[in-house]
């Protein structure tokens, strides 16, 4: 006698729903991966602060001599403006507040703790961010970097020049 096996249609339906559920889960997972990776902006602030240091260093000192507009005959020019005289355009319409801070300290080599002259430009509020920026929790704050080098003026007076730069622009570089 031929036995007929009835297909379990209910079970097939459940498997089909299950299959679609798995597809949705996989699709959701792939969406999540793409969203997380491509939703995170590239953080170029570290690059920016270092480029800013190099740019200011080139402006303040060239070929081992300090720019004669900064110090002339051993006298520092208090009217020297980092943004105008170094051709740095640090303000854009995109931001209400200035997103940069730059500071150049000149030290006598015999007293490297107290600067004899300082040039500063930008939003000085960013300076406070520099001390706590190492903590990952504060990655949304400004990025800071500094660098020092040695240079001479036209009278062969020796100076240590320390440049500090800070860039905020967190909204464009960190996922908020």
């Amino acid at each position: 006698m031929l036995k007929k096996i009835l297909p379990n249609k209910r079970g097939d339906k459940i498997i089909s729903v299950y299959w679609f559920a798995v597809l949705i889960i996989v699709a959701g997972g792939i969406f999540g991966m793409v969203y997380v990776f491509y939703g995170t902006p590239y953080d170029i602030r570290e690059l920016e602060v270092n480029l800013l240091i190099n740019k200011i260093a080139d402006c303040v000192s060239y070929a081992g001599r300090i720019n004669s507009n900064v110090v002339s005959e051993g006298v520092f020019n208090k009217d020297f403006n980092l943004s105008n005289d170094c051709n740095l355009i640090l303000t854009t319409d995109e931001w209400e507040e200035v997103q940069y801070y730059t500071k150049v300290d000149f030290y006598n080599i015999n007293n490297a703790n107290t600067p004899i002259f300082t040039l500063a430009n930008g939003n000085s509020n960013l300076l406070t961010n520099c001390e706590i920026q190492e903590d990952k929790e504060y990655s949304k704050l400004a990025k800071c970097a500094d660098g020092s080098f040695y240079s001479l003026d036209s009278l062969d007076n020796q100076y240590i020049i320390k440049i500090l730069t800070s860039v905020r622009k967190a909204e464009k570089n960190v996922k908020v």
Binding site: K4, I5, L6, N50, A57, G64, I109, A112, S148, I160
Partner: protein, 87 residues
């Protein structure tokens, strides 16, 4: 007439449940990896290399030039100060 085997159905269902758990586990692992990779989306100066600039630190170059102009006067003292400031 025979009904299909209930034990077989339970086995198949269990396979699906285990497979789903494995799929979810793999997805979570991949999402976690993409979170870690997203954290690495930082470009530093070391990542930008051109043939002319490779391996050249502009500030060090300036210091060397100044030392040359000053005939290495007070070089040791200056390098020590710079070492402390750049530390």
């Amino acid at each position: 007439m025979l009904r299909s085997n209930n034990k077989g159905q339970v086995g198949e269902t269990m396979s699906w449940v285990v497979a789903t758990l494995i799929i979810i586990g793999i997805l979570i692992a991949f999402i976690y990896i993409s979170v870690l990779m997203a954290d690495l989306k930082k470009i530093s100066l070391a990542d930008i290399h051109t043939e002319s600039e490779q391996g050249v630190d502009i500030l060090s170059e300036k210091t060397v030039l100044a030392h040359t102009l000053a005939n290495n006067k007070d070089k040791q003292q200056i390098d020590q100060i710079l070492g402390e400031k750049n530390a």
